[in-house]
């Protein structure tokens, strides 16, 4: 499903000077179809950068990322965009909902650039995550927990092969956090998507059977 080999990413030095900072250096990583895994990592250890690379919104310096049989690192940007639209779902810590769009529209946009919009499926999934009565609300009219569920629905509505979740419960309190995580895992299972979650929150990590330390995985010298 997801295979990574010799992946490297460094950023140019800040204006103050210094050498290029290598942030990601992952010799090997793999995730099977429908598999769910969590990565444990400190703040600033490069987890977000790692997910950005997998999502193709950042270009790797070198190495290989294969998603569902497609070698993404050999694709041009526009092709990476299409791959992301068709095969990936992304759940952000800050949800990143589009504030000017309704709940239903936000979820529709999760399909807009990949397979094509299916309003019925968007409604159905919103019903599944308990927001069937909030379709025409705007994000700022929802609670944080509800917003998070919109983000989950948006990430899954296009039936992605792989869902990337970057501290998805970081903005929720403990009670909601637990429920939210369960929801994400269940929906991923129902939709047959693999899940790769990164977090520094032990409470969250404890719920996963398969947890890896990002520090071990990532050999970039900090």
């Amino acid at each position: 499903m997801l295979e990574i080999a010799d992946l490297r990413k460094s950023f140019p030095p800040a204006e103050t000077g210094g050498a290029r900072a290598e942030i990601v250096r992952v010799p090997a990583f793999a995730l099977g179809a429908g598999e769910q895994a969590a990565l444990r990592g400190e703040s600033g250890s490069g987890k977000t950068t790692f997910l950005h690379l997998i999502a193709g919104i950042l270009a790797a310096d070198s190495g290989r990322i294969t998603v569902d049989g497609v070698v993404m690192t050999s694709l041009g940007e526009a092709q990476r965009d299409r791959l992301r639209a068709q095969k990936l779902g992304y759940i952000f810590q800050t949800f990143n909902l589009l504030q000017g769009f309704t709940v239903l529209e936000n979820v529709q946009l999760g399909m807009a650039f990949g397979g094509g919009v299916d309003k019925g499926r968007a409604r159905e999934l919103l019903g599944r995550v308990g927001l069937g009565h909030r379709l025409n609300h705007f994000p700022n009219q929802l609670s944080t927990g509800q917003q998070q569920r919109v983000a989950v629905a948006r990430a899954l509505v296009n039936r992605p092969k792989l869902v990337l979740a970057d501290e998805p419960t970081g903005n929720l309190d403990r009670v909601h956090s637990r429920a939210a995580l369960e929801l994400i895992r269940e929906v991923c299972r129902e939709y047959g998507a693999a899940l790769l979650l990164v977090s520094h929150d032990e409470e969250v990590l404890r719920q996963f059977e398969k947890v890896r330390d990002f520090k071990e995985l990532n050999q970039a010298v900090q």
Binding site: T49, D81, R82, A85, N96, L98, F113
Partner: protein, 401 residues
């Protein structure tokens, strides 16, 4: 499906600036179309307005003034000519019809034009259009103190058959210069959409012999309106009166003289057109600026769309399309402004000259201008679209902390 949604939501989110920008485009578009149409329409209508006459004979002076006075009932008469001049040209073999005209009095600012009933009975003011009075009215009889009111004059002065009035001396209304004669309205003309609508017609000797007019005016008239048997004859008469003679002016052809007037004032509509073009450029620039200014606020939304799989060129296209839609909204509202302005200008022109512009006339500018405006706005949208195109997704979504 997605593009309209993106555009619609973005316009909604920036409703105020959308409104202001579209409004300025509407103004620019409406102004441009109005200037253009007033120019072409009035040129067309004025140069084709001759109330049925080919030429005007009058005192020595400016042909334009002669035509304006005798055909359009504007300006002062350049002077008088003798009744014998009228008798002479009337007998000329090249002249089909000659109608004398005497002016110099008014009723509440509307001119009294002295003439003979033949004007109504033998002249068509436009091809296949003869003068007619409204039911219950009649043309005046020579020698009687009777008047026939043009439709616009009658409407403004609320004159109807049977009403009486006193003429006032001069072309401008002055309470103190009332003549003692009493005239009775015997007819109101059907609208002709020509300057004749703004005139009150009375028998010619009424003007000539109005109490208080100098005695010599009894044998003088202001102009002779002429229909020729053939256009070629006009050149012969031009030769006769303008080149050989030096006492009279023969204004021919009427349309060409009015066209000259438009030539003289062409700088005016050039200035207006230039202003309108500038307004158009400013409007397009305002589209550019308004979208560009909102760009930093929209960076995050654009990056989110990219994270959902939107390509750079989709984002670029959406911004350009949004600019074009603002242009289209503005252009549509521009038609409203156009009709409002043109109707106003047309009313003004009708009140001042009796000439009626066709507000619903078609012209290529009516689709070229809106399309050009939309294109211009889309072009203005390219600048912010480039900025949108370059939005870095990863950095925008996860700002370096």
């Amino acid at each position: 499906m997605t593009l309209p949604l993106l555009i619609y939501r973005s316009l909604r989110q920036h409703a105020l600036s959308t409104l202001v920008t579209a409004g300025s485009i509407a103004l620019a578009c409406g102004l441009l179309m109005t200037v253009w149409m007033v120019k072409t329409q009035s040129q067309e209508v004025f140069t084709s307005t001759n109330t049925g006459f080919d030429a005007v004979l009058g005192a020595r002076g400016s042909k334009l003034q002669l035509v304006l006075n005798a055909i359009f009932h504007l300006e002062a008469s350049p002077g008088n000519l003798e009744l014998s001049d009228y008798e002479e040209i009337k007998k000329h073999p090249a002249v089909r019809t000659a109608i004398p005209l005497a002016v110099g009095d008014n009723f509440r600012g509307f001119r009294l034009a002295g003439t003979i009933p033949d004007l109504f009975t033998t002249v068509e003011y436009a091809p296949d259009h003869a003068f007619a009075v409204r039911p219950g009215g009649a043309f005046f009889k020579l020698g009687a103190r009777e008047a026939v009111a043009g439709s616009f004059a009658a409407q403004q002065l609320k004159l109807k058959v049977g009403d009486t009035f006193h003429p006032y001396h001069g072309l401008n209304f002055n309470e103190e210069s009332m003549h003692s004669e009493t005239y009775t309205v015997v007819g109101v003309l059907q609208p002709t959409n020509t300057p004749a609508d703004r005139v009150i017609w009375i028998p010619i000797e009424g003007v000539q012999k109005m109490s208080g007019h100098v005695a010599s005016s009894a044998n003088q008239i202001s102009a002779v309106l002429i229909q020729l048997r053939s256009p070629a004859a006009g050149f012969a008469l031009d030769q006769l009166y303008n080149k050989q003679g030096n006492r009279l002016t023969f204004a021919f052809p009427v349309g060409a003289i009015i066209a000259e007037l438009f030539g003289k004032i062409s700088w005016f509509d050039q200035v207006l057109t230039l202003v309108a073009y500038l307004v158009a450029v400013v409007a397009a620039a305002s589209v550019l600026a308004s979208i560009y200014n909102s760009m930093s606020a929209r960076r995050r939304d654009l990056a989110i769309l990219r994270s959902l799989g939107a390509r750079r060129r989709t984002i670029f296209g959406a911004v350009v399309a949004e600019a074009a839609v603002i242009g289209a909204l503005g252009a549509t509202a521009g038609y409203v402004i156009y009709f409002a302005l043109l109707t106003g200008v047309a009313r003004l022109i009708q009140a001042q000259t009796g000439v009626v512009l066709d507000v619903f006339a078609g012209h290529p500018v009516l689709w070229i201008c809106p399309l050009a405006m939309i294109a211009l706005c889309a072009l203005g949208g390219v600048v912010p679209a480039m900025k949108a195109y370059r939005t870095p997704v990863a950095e925008t979504l996860a700002p370096v902390s």
